[in-house]
């Protein structure tokens, strides 16, 4: 292990989706990931938070090696993703695993639990016994494992499916586990169970976790560090606790205020720091400016860059992002 490198390092990562006409002319470009830089340490629980359309799922897929990036560089243990995938594809796959959002579409309906679980082990030539499989199932809280192993996917609930998927992901002992909204499709009661399962696996195995979420509350509970993503860009990075308790960027503030408070006294309109109508993505200036209540003239003219405002805390905002020293 090369300890001198962070586990993952992204430098000016870009991924644009281009819609082309029949003649190959670009009609529309979607900047799903636009010039994003960050690093993830070992044993770190890193969160990427943002609303749908912010590009967080695209970023998750890039991190999982399922999608190519257009520009910039991405390193795992100091080695380029592209080189790793070319030279040591299997090694890379063992190190990096991903959990998807929808356990109803991420498990092949025609494979039994056993087949589903065995496949990665067979693929990577890892010898295993029946009791190994049972142990894996038990370790994610699927019991009676003996009986579950012979079931078909449709005989499992959503929470059980997600547990099964997690079981397969961790069976390869990954160093990096990416979880793309692993609980957002599940019942509220099951969400906490799955998150605490992931937390326990983290404690036991000490892999790094990237959690993709749209919910600041989940982020605050689960993560060490958080990056707030808006329309392809990181607008704020910092310790999860700090960002949740005192968000700096107006968008982070919006996300934090959007979380549900366990207080039935709050009824009616929650006071969200947002302009009424949603603007389109501006050609120049800050992307969030059309929705921002703090915007000044400069915001419409110049795109703010991510700047460090305090130790380990960076914000991209002209108004709020000024150093508070």
């Amino acid at each position: 292990m090369k300890e001198e490198y962070p586990l993952v390092e992204a430098k000016k990562l870009k991924k644009y989706f281009r819609e082309t006409s029949l003649l190959g002319k670009v009609i529309k470009t979607t900047k799903a990931v636009d010039d994003v830089s960050f690093s993830i340490g070992r044993r770190e629980k890193f969160c990427i938070v943002g609303e749908s359309g912010s590009g967080k799922t695209t970023l998750a897929r890039i991190l999982a090696g399922l999608l190519d990036y257009d520009e910039g560089e991405l390193f795992l243990d100091g080695e380029r993703y592209k080189d790793l995938l070319e030279k040591d594809r299997k090694g890379f796959r063992r190190k990096v695993q991903i959990i998807f959002q929808d356990p109803y579409s991420s498990i092949n309906p025609r494979k039994s639990v056993r087949e589903f679980l065995e496949r990665p082990l067979k693929l990577h030539g890892i010898s295993f016994s029946r009791s190994d499989l049972l142990n894996i199932l038990e370790s994610v809280g699927l019991s009676p494992a003996e009986e579950i192993m012979n079931r078909m996917p449709w005989e499992l609930s959503g929470g059980q499916r997600q547990r099964l998927f997690i079981a397969r992901a961790i069976s390869l002992n990954p160093e990096l586990l990416i979880a793309d909204e692993p609980v957002s499709m599940l019942d509220v009661t099951v969400r906490a169970q799955i998150l605490s399962l992931m937390n326990r696996l983290y404690e036991d195995r000490g892999m790094s976790i990237v959690l993709i979420s749209h919910d600041m509350l989940t982020v605050n509970v689960f993560c060490d560090r958080v990056a707030v993503m808006y329309l392809g860009k990181f607008v704020e990075i910092g310790k999860a606790r700090d960002v949740y308790s005192s968000p700096i960027h107006p968008y982070s503030e919006l996300l934090v205020k959007s979380t549900l408070k366990p207080d039935p006294g709050i009824r009616g309109k929650v006071d969200l720091p947002e302009k009424e109508e949603l603007g389109s993505i501006p050609a120049v200036g800050c992307r969030f400016q059309p929705r921002c209540i703090y915007s000044v003239q400069r915001c419409a003219l110049e795109e703010p860059i991510l700047r460090e405002v305090s130790q380990g805390r960076s914000v991209a905002c002209h108004v709020k992002g000024v150093s508070r020293s």
Partner: protein, 276 residues
């Protein structure tokens, strides 16, 4: 346990008719030599145009051949041609459709335009031309029917493969290190069957009818018994009162086709069940 259960379902009242019908045809096809009382094409094994009797349970035709023997040997022809051509078509459809749908782009375009071409031409005329060129025997009929059976199946396989390749379980398979070929055969193919099997069965029954049609027109294998050939003979003797020459082979052909379609329904329900 499971096998017993499957057997019970297979022989449930709903399936009892098609299963036994196809079983009879299959037994005819395999054991024709032992079941048929006479050589099927031999003339003068009985009186001319004899109605069903003890010696000739389905009667005889105008040259004194035994119709029951022709039906029995005709089962062999029908099943051989139907299955061979169906499997050829399926093999082509899977190897083209799975890859076209998964990889897309130019390969997909090329394959799909070829499918359109094949679907737009009058296939029967082409088959007749090919049979005239290469000579009519049962193997050639099966091959030619097979070579014209793939387009529709390919289209269905391709569209399934395309939509399945976007599913998350495909991405999940890639994430554990599965290669494209593994994804296509392990993840996509098992989910393609429910859509293809009815079409496959339809192709088999369609090709059985096509072979009978060709034989009826006199384009069949002259040395092989076929339901269509028996029907052709009988159609010329119909006004002489020979109803049995039309009824028996016609009935067997019709019931076989119906059974194939019923079984295909059952197979689909078996493959798409989501609960026990």
């Amino acid at each position: 346990m499971k096998m017993k259960k499957r057997l019970r379902v297979l022989l449930s009242p709903r399936n009892i008719f098609p299963v036994s019908m196809l079983a009879i045809v299959a037994v005819f096809a395999v054991f024709a030599e032992f079941i048929a009382p006479y050589p099927p094409l031999k003339t003068g094994v009985g009186p001319i145009l004899s109605p069903p009797s003890e010696k000739h349970i389905m009667g005889t035709d105008q040259v004194g051949s035994d119709i029951f023997s022709q039906v029995v040997y005709g089962s062999r022809t029908a099943l051989f041609v139907g299955l061979t051509s169906g499997l050829i078509g399926l093999a082509i459809a899977l190897s083209l459709g799975l890859f076209a749908g998964y990889y897309g782009s130019k390969l997909d375009m090329l394959i799909m335009r070829t499918v359109d071409l094949f679907l737009s031409i009058p296939v029967f005329v082409f088959m007749i031309v090919l049979l005239v060129i290469f000579g009519s025997n049962i193997t050639n009929i099966a091959l030619i029917l097979g070579l014209f059976s793939w387009p529709l199946m390919t289209r269905v396989v391709r569209s399934q493969s395309l939509s399945l390749s976007e599913k998350e379980f495909v991405a999940a398979a890639r994430a554990i290190g599965e290669r494209d070929i593994g994804i296509i055969f392990r993840e996509i193919l098992p989910n393609v069957w429910p859509a293809v099997i009815p079409l496959f069965m339809m192709t088999i029954s369609g090709n059985i009818v096509a072979e009978s049609g060709l034989s009826f027109l006199g384009l069949g294998d002259p040395n092989t018994a076929s339901w269509g050939r028996t029907l052709a003979m009988a159609s010329r003797a119909f006004y002489a009162g020979s109803w049995w020459g039309i009824l028996f082979p016609g009935l067997v052909l019709t019931l076989t086709i119906i059974s194939l379609n019923l079984i295909s329904d059952y197979l689909v329900s078996l493959l798409t069940r989501t609960e026990k």
